[in-house]
Symmetry: C2
Subunit: 267 residues, 2 copies
């Protein structure tokens, strides 16, 4: 089984990803897709007069500040628009895709971070009304039931909290948790760069293979959004996923290329 | 098994509907929910600078004109926002709800109307790029599989066409098709009026019981959106659903009231 994370950034060739997915499934492979939606959520948030606010946590990660109105926009865009369009495109390719988010059937249970500690203009602040979570449990049995029925799950990055609140979760780390829970043989993280670069944005510095021992160091040179992908990869490895690939989602064959060894492989 | 249609109009008491649903499920009843989303789709369409356009078909029904951008807004709002919020609210009530739309796993397959024949300012027009459909098949097996796993399906009014396109479908008629497919004992259509009125909007003219034979006549006096509900009821009866209730979704106990016989019962 392969878990594929489709990035929410601009440039990912969704038609090609869906065509490749169909080819994999026809060859007998089982696939689960997890997707993001950051770019489109930003656009629609702007249009709705609720511009996105990104914050930097004290641990150095970038997060979307998700108050309740933002959560509802995030759910609308990721679970309603992006998820439906991916499912539709897969269906057109003959894949019986089935969209869901982690709220459905409590497929992804997360711990809501009660307080988000951020740094703004050099000052430490605490944000409280944030609907962001860290996934603690994935219901692999439910995903397997869907797959046994011939369905290909397509998962939007929402989880459910201990109190039953929908939460925004990081899609890379969600994909890692899903891959671990279903004991996937590989996690492919598609993005709009050719792989992990030692010196971003110099594409000649893409690292072809990164051993587990190099992950901690990678956290220091990974830029912005790549940091969370490295964190996700590290979590997936911990959960027993033997191989994680950061691959270019913009090519004519993003998945076939990744399976052929392009991009950055962590194992 | 009971199928409940939650109206997309303003005023429906969603908290009360979810609490009642939890009570029914705790008492051993199986429930499927189908919801609309017209009112909220209108609001968000306006905010996104794509105001809704309603047309009157030559057969006298009111329809949302759904070009591709409208379809994507409709998917976003119904499947992403409304569906997630209902699932979340049911989860908070202890119901293991599972949201989906008819696109997922091709649960609702529809025929896309190639051309929409409308009347505007007394003139007949044909609209072509419309993404609206009439449901032809419901995958009851998939819904039963979810229910057998202890999940309560919550269905957004999208279906999939013969060509794999997502389509906007009428939620009342979708609920009727679902009720027929799963052989529900009752279909409860919650709305923001107390029932079918012989003389709208005079609430003293609510009809308590309408025999099957009275349905055709009801189509003539049912106002606006109620026409499609009457059509849905008529289709559900044809499909073998023995009892259809139009009930007030604004009360403290919309479902318990409906089960106690309030509203309009068609059987």
């Amino acid at each position: 089984m392969i878990v594929i994370k489709i990035g929410g950034s601009q440039g990912v060739n969704l038609d090609a990803v869906c065509a490749d997915t169909a080819q994999l499934i026809q060859s007998g492979q089982k696939v689960i897709i997890v997707h993001g939606g950051s770019n489109e959520t930003n656009q629609i948030s702007e249009q709705l007069g609720k511009p996105p606010r990104f914050v930097t946590t004290v641990t150095g990660f970038t997060s979307r500040y998700t108050d309740r109105p933002t959560l509802e926009i995030f759910a609308m865009v990721t679970s309603g628009k992006i998820n439906t369009l991916i499912v539709e495109r897969l269906q057109k390719n003959g894949v019986n895709a089935f969209g869901l988010s982690g709220v459905d059937g409590r497929v992804m249970a997360a711990h809501r971070k009660e307080a988000l500690r951020i740094v703004e203009n050099g000052k430490k602040l605490v944000l409280r009304d944030d609907y962001t979570g860290k996934i603690e449990q994935v219901n692999a049995g439910l995903l397997k039931m869907l797959m046994d029925a011939g369905l290909t799950p397509v998962i939007a990055p929402l989880a459910i909290s201990q109190d039953g609140d929908a939460l925004n979760v990081d899609a890379d780390r969600a994909a890692a948790m899903v891959a671990g829970a279903v004991q996937a043989e590989q996690l492919i993280i598609l993005t709009n760069v050719p792989g992990l670069m030692r010196s971003f944005p110099d594409e000649s510095t893409v690292i072809a293979h990164l051993p587990k021992a190099g992950l901690e160091q990678a956290l220091s040179f990974a830029e912005g959004r790549m940091k969370k992908k490295v964190l996700g990869a590290s979590e997936a490895l911990e959960l027993g996923v033997p191989k994680i690939t950061f691959a270019d989602g913009r090519t004519e064959h993003p998945l076939l290329d990744a399976l052929a060894g392009k991009g950055t492989t962590i194992s």
